[in-house]
Amino acid sequence: MAAPCVSCGRVVSYRLFLGGRVILAQRQGLWKTAAAELQKGAGSQILRLRHTTPVMTKKKIAASRHETYTEDFIKKQIEEFNIGKRHLANMMGEDPETFTQEDIDRAITYLFPSGLFEKRARPVMKHPEQIFPKQRAIQWGEDGRPFHFLFYTGKPSYYSLMHEVYGKLLHIEKRQDQLRARGPLPEKSEASRDLIGSRWLIKEELEEMLVEKLSDQDYTQFIRLLERLLTMPCNTAEEEFVQRFRRSVTIQSKKQLIEPVQYDERGMAFSRSEGKRKTATAEAVVYGQGSGRISINGTDYLLYFPVMQDREQLMFPFHFLDRLGKHDVTCTVSGGGRSAQAGAIRLAVSKALCSFVTEDEVEWMRQAGLLTTDPRVRERKKPGQEGARRKFTWKKR
């Protein structure tokens, strides 16, 4: 009889699934090999018993290729996770009520130190929602008929969403026609929508929302339809509907850390910051009052940078803010070459000048590219090539 070995096989597989409170991130690979072994061993008997309803076993369902997590299973995982979280908090001597995910991560890295380079291979304890990919509930009933009328399109949620949006579009057009039939349209100025502070959600986010794989064309069609909806006068319900598909975008200038102005023994205001370019690092101290003297590593800038281009780079932030002769700079720089050192000092000086200048001017400096660290570094040489890009001479034979 296949039943006893099937049940023990099931227990074994479940023990593999629920491998303790600490869940390794590479479980899915583990599962696949275990499931494959079991299947090879006991034949198609196991397939039948792993599904919830007997009807499904009659058809070869594509869903069986993905791991089907039943709802009970997920609930159990969540309970176990919460209990495990409390135990972990007790172990670490912290309050179980206010134990956040960051605390969990810290505790796990402390208790299970891992020397692996790949971050995704290290031990991880996260909420089951983040570990098990979201899967759809079974979409057909006991008689095998699907619930959703668009099931056979393959992407029921996507197409139903498109239908919904198009329905709203038609509804608005009908409303416009009715208003126009009553009399001439009153010129209503639209309230300016915050189109700048938000962006459309990207394809991956939409896929996550619908739990379906989409193609690029599907995504662009959807966004085009939403934009068409936005061109028409919408009421608040429709606006809210559209806002569901927009994500806010940060204002970049707020991210810039402005160094506070410090005062030295003589009462002079100064500001210190650092800058990097390629392998050069510079630290600049910009004084509030001065006459435009710049000293680098103890020497004057004219002697340190004999090339005009480097001196222009030093002048750039001051010239941009119209403060050419008004500040004194003392800086130290090391590493890199001539141009890299000039770039590093330019960045350090710009950052230091932020403290003496208004917020608007900081934003202008950012838009002029003065406050961004240049990420370009020397590209490594690859094996089988002469340099980073140059290949060896091609010989026919």
Binding site: F316, H319, F320, E363, Q367, T372, T373
Partner: protein
Amino acid sequence: MGTVLKLPGVCTAGTPGRPKLLPKSRAFPFARVGGKGPGVTARITQVRWSRYGPEYRDPQVDKEHYRKSVDELTEEERYDQELKKTQLIKAAPASRTSSVFEDPLISKFTNMMMKGGNKVLARSLITQTLEAVKRKQFEKYRAASAEERANIERNPYTIFHQALKNCEPVIGLVPILKGGHFYQVPVPLADRRRRFLAMKWMITECRENKHRRTLMPEKLSNELLEAFHNQGPVIKRKHNMHKMAEANRALAHYRWW
């Protein structure tokens, strides 16, 4: 892992740069198919990639652009200004400043003159060229009479710009493969291609057709002045190109774009 946010393109662990999406061009798409076994979908390794992600915008270095008050801007400019606040900006390159003396055409020309990364030498040659042009024009000015003086242009930058504009070809030839033979088909050139050709011809001319003892600034200043007056070997080359295009005009229908 279907729900993980995946960045487009291939990113190996050691290179955190972003692969650039290649623009649609006639040229052969310069991408390499990574070697994989059969049964696995081949992924195309992007070759032209940049350390900046695709969301980064180019910096606007011009000082006057920011000094404009809010009333002077149009609706579009105001929208652009608001939009820029949310965008990431690249770092300004080392060759760009907010100086009034900076000229993008001169910078491009300097880079094209540069050999082996020796920007110092290239820049000094250009400054000496412009100085030589100015000196020659001033001598001519001093030697000329009052009526002629009005026609003599002394600003070396205007001479440079006008000379290169005079050297730009209007139409170019492109080899097109048809029936096993390459035919030279006349084709209208884009603006950037025309500027590039003018500068390239000027530099090649000055490097090759000069006496061993003449220095580059002297030769280049002579060529620029000749081109300014629509004479000289570079203008001749441009006219040759136009004549060949005219001769091959029967093949113009081979062009499909």
